[in-house]
């Protein structure tokens, strides 16, 4: 039945479909890790933070290794070219970005674990706003990759400035605050952890723009990194 046989390019397309699915699952895990870290901080729920640190990180590492393995196998078996090649290379890079985001989520959960043992810090609301922006950027960056939507990807890149501004404002306000109470060590410790959280959220947003830049390369073959 030669007419019904599966062709090489169809086998590759199937492989790419399942690779995309794995990336979406991985991104969902990372999104939930960020969500839980921030929720754990806001709702002061230790178990949420614990699950990010103890369970999710291992799962994230495992998923990263599996996706990397699948990308390498696909290159070796199918010798993808043109758009397919770009897609696999982008999947590999995204995989790496997601793994780093998972690490940032763990850092946030670590700092949050420290903070929830202390009286409620006043800057939590600002952190929530920053986290919301960051999570939206990550979600949209993944969608832009899945849908090959370069407009959405470009729009996400622009939003990075909003996150940078929010982070700067938080850090500035915290520094002023610390200068006002230089002798309160507990309070300084607390504020340093808030800064760490803000910094980690900003890094996640930054990595989301990487995903968008790579998506534009995947779809159009255009490298827009570093002002290109």
């Amino acid at each position: 039945m030669k007419g019904n046989s599966v062709k090489g390019w169809q086998m590759l397309e199937e492989r790419i479909k399942s690779l995309k699915k794995e990336i979406v699952n991985y991104a969902s895990l990372v999104e939930s890790m960020i969500e839980k870290s921030i929720d754990g901080l806001y709702k002061r729920q230790k178990d949420l933070l614990k699950s990010v640190i103890k369970e999710n990180e291992d799962k994230a590492n495992e998923m990263e290794m599996r996706i990397e393995e699948h990308c390498i196998e696909t290159i070796a078996q199918f010798e993808p070219r043109a758009k397919n090649l770009r897609l696999i290379i982008v999947a590999l890079k995204m995989n790496n970005d997601l793994e780093r985001m998972a690490d940032h989520a763990v850092n946030i959960a670590d700092s949050a674990s420290f903070l929830i043992e202390l009286p409620k810090e006043t800057f939590i609301e600002e952190i929530l706003t920053l986290a919301d922006e960051t999570k939206k950027m990550l979600k949209d960056s993944i969608e832009s990759f899945i849908e090959g939507d370069t407009k959405k990807a470009e729009e996400v890149c622009k939003r990075d400035d909003v996150v940078d501004d929010l982070q700067d404002k938080i850090i500035k306000a915290l520094v002023i605050n610390m200068c006002a109470e230089p002798d309160s060590l507990d309070s300084i410790d607390q504020k340093v952890h808030i800064i760490i959280i803000a910094k980690n959220l900003e890094r996640i947003a930054d990595l989301s723009t990487n995903i968008c830049e790579d998506t534009i390369y995947m779809v159009e073959g255009k490298d827009i990194k570093h002002g290109n």
């Binding site: 062709k7 090489g8 390019w9 070219r81 043109a82 397919n84």
Partner: protein, 252 residues
Amino acid sequence: MVKNGLKVEKLNLWFADKHILKDISFSIPDKKITAVIGPSGCGKTTLLRCFNRMNDMADNLRIKGKIILDDYNIYEEKVELSSLRMKVGMVFQKPNPFPKSIYENVAFGLHIKGIKDRSKVLGIIEKSLKDAWLWEEVKDRLSSSAMELSGGQQQRLCIARALATNPEVILFDEPTSALDPQATAKIEELIVELKNSVTVVQVTHNIGQAARISDYTAFLYLGELVEFGTTEKLFTVPQDKRTEEYLEGKFG
């Protein structure tokens, strides 16, 4: 700027009323490997054979346009076919040594060129066989029949035969399709080495081979030159949807 090895200008070719090559224009850079790829019947071998006028013998052939080599159009009437073919050598799909000795195979073009001095001929034969990476394997049996060599060795002998006349261009028509993977790898490495001294134009069905060894790639489809560019760019970011689909294996 890359010097032009061959310049194709508005080349059109018909066999009877069949329009095989359609308005093809591009420049093949000097001392580089240019691969011509495309599905079966797209005209790539016909294009290759235009470069040393191998199509001339075909019935009902009509050609319009120019192919410029060394500032003249090779289709001008004054061009002598034998001297053109000395300048533009060709290696075919299946190794085709003459049923003569190894020595006579390589010396063939030299006799036509009128080079008779035995020591000179011997020197060129040795150099050509060395350049084709065959010398060490045959130096003690130059008078043996070329037909006794393995497929890969025969193909390298054909390359040595082409090199002996000191060509500017060598055309390769699927040079490894009849060879095993090991012999293929050797020919590929040899072709890469050859570009130090000659311009190489290669027709291949083996897309991986074009990606590995060529500097430039031309994609032909239904007699049209769809895309021409550096191999790196064409294989990663093709500009035309047809090139992309061909490279992805969706047709061909």
